[in-house]
Symmetry: C3
Subunit: 316 residues, 3 copies
């Protein structure tokens, strides 16, 4: 898509030299053929170092854009980013891609669907009702139980086990809202990357990234009915019990253990080697390791126990 077309689409003025734009990305990840945006004061500091060809911004931030980048000035940058995302979203399936490739020794049910461009490794079991989308890649020795769905462009490592009904790569919960309360979908151009030796239970949902990737790192264990929001990173060997949920963009260090029905708010970082009791609600970044937490809002587990003791005495 031409930069001039983008400007026209989002209602920005543009009279520089035109060029082809290949995709969208965050300020820090965008390359010189991509367009980015700034819609949150937190990211203003990333404008000057961004390699993006053009940056969607508003009047208040346009002067931060260096003169060798194009500032596309609009009233509502987040909304216009959402508008533009629809143009860079790929088709649901790449019908023109070659037929799916299936590695030696793999069993693929006649009732599974492999979209064009999908690649299945060796010695896999792809059971009935599974869907693997275009350009999705499944590593060797991996089992996809019935009715697992892998959306297009996602990657599942080797020696993984994914139980029935689990969905990898659905769009994250992202949209811009205007003053009328109307929501505009942000198309999710990123994917999910599941590394090797990961087991995921049944009916779990792992959303794809807006841009870049949602990561489930090697050796992790996820239980049933878990929500992993867009752009999260689950560190190596982490353990997440049933019905826990992670909002978007949180980065979990290795070997964290989350109890059942626990939750993590968005945009947090959690250092490695912590344990979270069932129902813990993590609301802040955690820089320490080796601790056990509980409660909502969360606190050290021993503090939580003391408060429960005090409460019990309150009523005596």
């Amino acid at each position: 898509m031409k930069l001039s077309e983008i400007a026209q689409l989002i209602g920005a003025k543009f009279d520089g030299s035109d060029r082809e734009i290949t995709s969208m990305n965050t300020l820090s990840e965008a390359n010189e053929n991509e367009v980015s945006f700034v819609a949150n004061a937190k990211y203003i500091k990333e404008i000057s170092s961004s390699n993006a060809a053009a940056i969607i911004c508003d009047k208040s931030t346009k002067d931060k854009v260096s003169t060798d980048r194009v500032a596309l000035v609009v009233d509502a940058p987040y909304w216009q980013m959402a508008v533009l995302s629809a143009k860079f979203a790929p088709a649901l399936e790449d019908v023109s891609s070659p037929k799916a490739i299936i590695g030696e020794g793999s069993m693929v049910s006649a009732k599974a669907e492999l979209a064009n461009g999908a690649v299945i490794g060796k010695n896999c079991n792809i059971m009935a009702g599974v869907y693997v989308g275009s350009n999705a890649i499944v590593g060797d020795n991996t089992i996809l139980y019935p009715n697992v769905v892998i959306y297009r462009d996602c990657k599942v490592g080797s020696s993984c086990i994914i139980h029935a009904g689990t969905v990898i790569g659905s769009d994250g919960f992202g949209f811009a809202s205007n003053k009328m309360g109307i929501h505009k979908k942000i198309y999710h151009i990123g994917n999910v990357v599941i590394e090797d030796d990961v087991e995921i239970g049944s009916n779990t949902s792992i959303d794809r990234a807006v841009f870049t990737s949602t990561y489930i790192k090697k050796g992790s264990r996820l239980d049933n009915l878990i929500q992993v929001g867009h752009n999260c990173e689950i560190g190596e060997y982490s353990v997440i019990a049933g019905q826990a949920g992670l909002a978007g963009s949180s980065k979990i260090g290795r070997s964290n253990v989350f109890g059942a029905q626990s939750g993590v708010a968005g945009h947090l970082e959690i250092a490695p080697f912590n344990t979270f009791a069932a129902r813990t609600g993590v609301t802040k970044t955690i820089k320490e390791s080796g601790k056990t937490f509980a409660g909502f809002p969360f606190m050290e587990h021993r503090t939580w126990l003391k408060i429960q003791g005090k409460l019990a005495r309150l009523i005596k």
Copy 2:
């Protein structure tokens, strides 16, 4: 079904003039060809204005039924209503209906199943493993990702996106229980109506109404793993984050925002334009707008913050 047959089935005495009964419904919604019931003191006041042909009631309420209606007097009206509901439940599929109709420009996977009587609009994408039941209607430009299930008689609007594994129209959690603790299923004769421009995440469950409809109104956004109970109404442009749950029959006004893992009890009304923090548990009707709530039982968010502060000081 003849009124006399209904009376016999549920063990009520009936010696008036017989007539054909077409369905069951609530007191307020029943028409003159339908049978209704009263099983809860809360609804006694609706007996006199009901248009139902006959009302299943017990000895204590039979005198409230006006003389131009038939009172079907039984010991356990709720149980007998459940017994009768089985007779009015339609078949799982209408095999005698014509083949499904698919609008121009729509792509339907050969691995999707469209039951007889289903209607798919124009330019839709119905992906592999999707099931659309008899007489279900899907509007134009709608995407059903793999393994979505739309039960019979449900309606999905235009320009909707429903992510993989989501179920629309499963029976609500309804049954009558006797003194032995045995449960009798209440068949759900209603449906789900999803209006235009709604996006729903993956592995979410939206139950059909007992009678009438469960509504998801236009422009709403629902995330993954959400539970919407039978007969709920989700107002326009509402936003419901992952793993939130709504029990049955609650009416949510427009533009309400529910955080992750929040919950709403049954039979409540929530005024428009409120915000609920993650994990909020709404236990009462809310008549105000523009507020932010938190906690369980819920309270204003600033009050909840004060209580957390007090608790923290308790243990010092």
Copy 3:
């Protein structure tokens, strides 16, 4: 598998008379052709009465093993049990079993998949996208809505209704972890047994037992998006509302009622006829009946109400 091969696989010394071992099991359930293990001090008292042919143990527990049993001494019994479990896990499907048997009057969608060895009773409805695994048994008059998955060897009773997307028999959340934090999968050799007249909502997950069975007893009602962990027993006529979760190995007596989003920790016993309010988190065994509980950690409902009242007054 020969006992000598087992010893070699797990690095234990063995020089007794060899014999064929058919499976693995718990200390109390193992028969004379099975191998068992002790990895938790709680179970040491069961060693002496176990009928297992051999017991995987460490140096500290080997002397408890009676002389007519074989003690397989290793450094990490739980890890070695996990290693061995892979050898006794059956294939994903028994391709050599006879074709599935379908009872008279049953409708099976051409888009359902019945693995070899599956048995479907009479007058069932097996809808599109359903998967029934090898040697799984479905009783008469049962409805499996679209995309239900019944893993191999599981049993579903007569007159059951299982709603769309529900998964019966996925592996439980079980693994051994070493000092490096690496997890070793425990293969789940058990199954799920669902008795007669059970209804289960949509997108619910019920895990199979490690050994023996996870039970959902007759007449129970489970709602949507519920997690039932491995080796649980849900008593007759129990009621579990949406998004509730039970960790592994808890035994729930008959006619218990669990509110929405409630939870039960692992290895508990709950006496019959109790009620748990929404969000209750049960953390201890309950020996009384007829009570109503709430809160997390749980307490009697009236106590919880008092605490909420005190908290409200705290901030005035």
